[in-house]
């Protein structure tokens, strides 16, 4: 039975199975079967022993293999053709789409320094969705963190590429999405500042810098790194209002002041 081309597994924002454009009855799949499908979606084509050990780590090996056989039987019954069994390994059948794999492919294209920005349509679900929320198996936690890191790196690079292409609106969205993923991550905030500067929005750049500086001070009691300071320095100097006392000490800069009456 070849149902694979019309089948899509979604793991971001929760587990879902779509066949022929309609959501399959996930409720018909017990949790063990859902975990098997999710694991194969994330891990490719592992061996039976590896799967059993990952999915049922707290039970004896024989019992884990029994649980795997049961879960596989259930998957084959509810979604025939989804899982390909060959030798001692299991994998999703050819042509089955997985949202995490699509998101990963997108992120790798973004991170490719030679890739052009035109082809980088942003996959919304990948940017906002979390991997299998509410699942806390070790292999899910690790995969979730890996995706999170991939996302934040891709967003930072995407912001710069979009800004270079003059697509400032999308660029600033990408930069803020990166900063939202980890609010203390300075490289994401530098991306925000760079986009504002590239667009010529000096005040916005300084505002973004100040907000980050205050956040960092409040949360960690530290200042931004020299990289951030170097980035924002010209803008801050350009924005600093001239003061009479400064002018008196540095007469060479008094030209920015209005002539005294």
């Amino acid at each position: 039975v070849d149902l694979a081309p019309a089948t899509r597994v979604a793991l971001l924002d929760g587990f879902a199975l779509v066949r022929g454009g309609t959501t399959a009855a996930v409720n018909d799949l017990p949790r063990g079967a859902q975990r098997l499908i999710a694991h194969l979606s994330l891990c490719g084509r592992p061996g039976r022993s590896a799967i059993a050990g990952q999915l049922w780590p707290d039970v004896p090996e024989e019992l884990a293999h029994g649980s795997l056989r049961s879960a596989l039987w259930r998957v084959q019954k509810v979604v025939p053709g989804l899982v390909d069994v060959s030798g001692g390994a299991l994998g999703l059948a050819d042509g089955v789409r997985v949202d995490v794999r699509e998101f990963t492919d997108w992120a790798r294209r973004v991170l490719d320094p030679h890739a052009v920005v035109d082809s980088m349509l942003t996959p919304d679900v990948g940017l906002h969705g979390e991997l299998l929320p509410g699942w806390y198996d070790d292999w899910v936690l690790l995969a979730r963190e890996r995706l999170r890191q991939l996302k934040v790196h891709a967003l930072e690079v995407l912001a710069d590429k979009l800004a270079c292409d003059g697509r400032y609106g999308e660029a600033v969205q990408a930069a803020y999405a990166a900063a939202g993923t980890e609010p203390l991550r300075e490289s994401a905030h530098r991306a925000v500042v760079r986009v504002h500067l590239a667009e010529g929005n000096i005040a916005e750049a300084v505002r973004a810098y100040n907000a980050f500086r205050e956040l960092l001070l409040g949360e960690l009691g530290v200042a931004p790194s020299p990289l951030m300071e170097e980035l924002i320095l010209p803008a801050r100097l350009g924005m600093a209002p001239a003061r009479a006392s400064d002018a008196a000490r540095r007469p060479g800069r008094s030209r920015s002041l209005p002539p005294r009456a």
């Binding site: 806390y136 936690l141 300075e186 960690l220 790194s225 990289l227």
Partner: protein, 76 residues
């Protein structure tokens, strides 16, 4: 096999460097993996030095073990 009285949790320590080795940053996030919990992530704390991370881990373990428990003791 999941026992109802199981109590477990995960602590995720994210560390990164900003602008060189002086810019150490960390965020500690916990997930309550006990049965009946939704597995939501909670920020335990943020840190700008490795020693602060160790303090946060110690505090988190003490809270996990409950009142009166000594995280330095050997449960065996």
């Amino acid at each position: 096999v999941t026992l109802n009285q199981d109590q477990s949790a995960s602590l995720l320590v994210r560390v990164w460097l900003e602008g060189g080795t002086d810019g150490f940053r960390a965020r500690l996030t916990s997930v309550d993996t006990s049965p009946g919990n939704d597995g939501a992530e909670l920020t335990v704390g943020v840190a700008s030095s490795p020693s602060d991370v160790i303090t946060l881990v110690q505090t988190w373990l003490t809270a996990f073990l409950g009142p009166g428990a000594d995280p330095d003791s050997d449960p065996s």
